[in-house]
């Protein structure tokens, strides 16, 4: 009889632990999610932890930092004089060919890194693409098809070698008049990475930042699961082409479908080649997976501008960089390191 009592007591204890554990687990891990419209997109930050006040504080600080970077790098805000003046990028562009401008340390750092990637990609990636973007009318109310002559003329202004950086004085000078920077391909990634640094400093161990599809995860989900990040099908917005499993990584996609303009019935995507001045058609979408959101942002644009085989080859060459490409023939190409991280749909 005593033996059975022991069995009952063991079963009881087991059930109490199971139920108790379930309650504690659910009560301990909270999710705090906040959204804000920033950098021309919707940014959401989800943080996970036991202290809701800390999650809220850390998220607010992360958003404040993203807002600061957004203001410093904004390029299309002439209608609002106060915002216009806050932007270092506007000041740099305005003073092109005139004088050097003292900028925020983060803007300086961003430009320094962007110049490095310009060299690495032999000019395929170039943030001095501003005049070409303006000519096409991206970000403006009206668009028109530029002539070859107009393109040729503005392309002369595109060259990152003409960004003169002075590290000691923290100044930036665009050496040719009418040159202009467009940080559309770098600022969002940089801001996301700064936000993650803030979350980490506040002791957050698990978080997800989604800046309009630029994804950065911190740690594991709920501290014990892999984050699942879907890659959108470039030709069917209601489907996915793959699902990534990520930990402490970023996944950023450049696609020909998301932002485009229609001129005379023809669709032109917003990723313009600094070599030709025209949108490229080799790929439908390029997703880059790496440790930080800034590198992922820069390289997704750079690889998108390359022929797909060449893009995979470059990603394989670079350490810690993985790429998932849907090329113009809707074929999927990926780097070898990605095979274990992705489920192709």
């Amino acid at each position: 009889m005593k033996k059975y009592r022991f069995v009952i007591a063991t079963v009881l204890l087991f059930l109490v632990i199971l139920i108790g554990g379930s309650i504690v687990r659910h009560q301990n891990i909270h999710e705090y999610k906040s959204e804000e419209f920033l950098m021309d997109t919707l940014v959401s930050i989800s943080t996970y932890g036991t202290d809701t006040d800390l999650l809220k504080l850390a998220t607010e600080e992360a958003f404040a930092e993203m807002r600061r970077i957004a203001e410093l790098t904004n390029r299309f805000s002439e209608s609002d004089p106060l915002t216009y003046k806050k932007s270092d990028v506007n000041r740099i562009n305005k003073m092109a060919g005139i004088e050097a401008v003292t900028v925020d340390k983060d803007v300086f750092n961003m430009l320094k890194l962007a110049k490095k990637y310009n060299e690495l990609t032999e000019g395929v990636f170039d943030i001095t693409i501003g005049p070409v973007m303006d000519l096409w009318g991206f970000g403006q109310e009206e668009q028109s098809l530029p002539s070859s002559l107009e393109i040729k003329k503005v392309l002369e202004l595109v060259d990152s070698k003409n960004i003169i950086l002075n590290e000691d004085l923290c100044t930036v000078y665009l050496s040719r008049k009418s040159m202009s920077l467009d940080l559309g391909a770098v600022a969002k990634g940089y801001a996301v990475e700064k936000a993650v640094n803030i979350l980490e400093k506040q002791g957050i161990k698990s978080a997800l930042i989604d800046a309009g599809g630029n994804i950065r995860v911190l740690g594991k989900k709920d501290n014990d699961k892999l984050w699942k990040v879907g890659i959108q099908d470039p030709r069917d917005t209601s489907s996915l082409v793959g699902i990534l499993s990520l930990v402490d990584e970023s996944a950023v996609t450049s696609g020909d479908y998301y932002r485009s303009i229609e001129i005379n019935g023809k669709i032109y995507n917003h990723i313009i080649s600094p070599k030709t001045g025209f949108p490229v058609g080799d790929n439908m979408s390029v997703t880059v997976i790496t440790k930080d959101a800034f590198t992922a942002d820069v390289l997704s644009t750079a690889l998108f501008l390359m022929e797909s085989q060449q893009a995979v080859a470059l990603a394989e060459e670079l350490e810690g960089i993985e790429a998932f490409i849907v090329n113009a023939d809707q074929e999927i190409l990926m780097t070898s390191g990605l095979i274990e991280k992705v489920v192709v749909k």
Binding site: D210, G230, T237, T287
Partner: protein, 126 residues
């Protein structure tokens, strides 16, 4: 083991099972799949159940800079009208899966299909 012991054991099992199920339900506050949520300027303005109905349902949403029209049909949702300059929200077309969203930045309007299923991705890169 006496009859009473056996009965007690069965009761403990049944009570534990229901307690566990209730806890899971309560803490996961499982919303049914396919719930469309519309937010405008940070506030939830509409909850709509996404039904497989052939009839087109149209909804008007007041955005930051104007009126938007959302269309729901066959378990899918899309933006059909917006006064935003680039019309990215309209060009996106239909969405149907939980976790997907349509965003109109100038109007600060977000339409998303609720994601409360643990099997679904946590985010989508696009």
């Amino acid at each position: 083991m006496t009859k009473a012991d056996k009965r007690l054991l069965i009761i403990i099992f049944i009570v534990s099972f229901f307690a566990y199920a209730l806890i899971q339900l309560y803490f996961n506050h499982a919303l049914s799949e396919g719930q469309v949520i519309v937010k405008s300027r940070g506030e939830i303005v509409k909850y709509i159940h996404l039904q497989n109905d052939e009839n087109v349902q149209r909804l008007e949403i007041e955005g930051k800079v104007g009126l938007l029209i959302i269309e729901i049909k066959d378990g899918m949702v899309r933006m059909v009208s917006s006064n935003c300059p680039e019309k990215i929200c309209i060009k996106q077309g239909w969405i149907k899966n939980p976790g997907q969203s349509i965003v109109c930045v100038p109007n600060e309007v977000v339409v998303y299909i609720d994601n409360d299923n643990e099997e679904l991705p946590d985010a989508i890169t696009r």
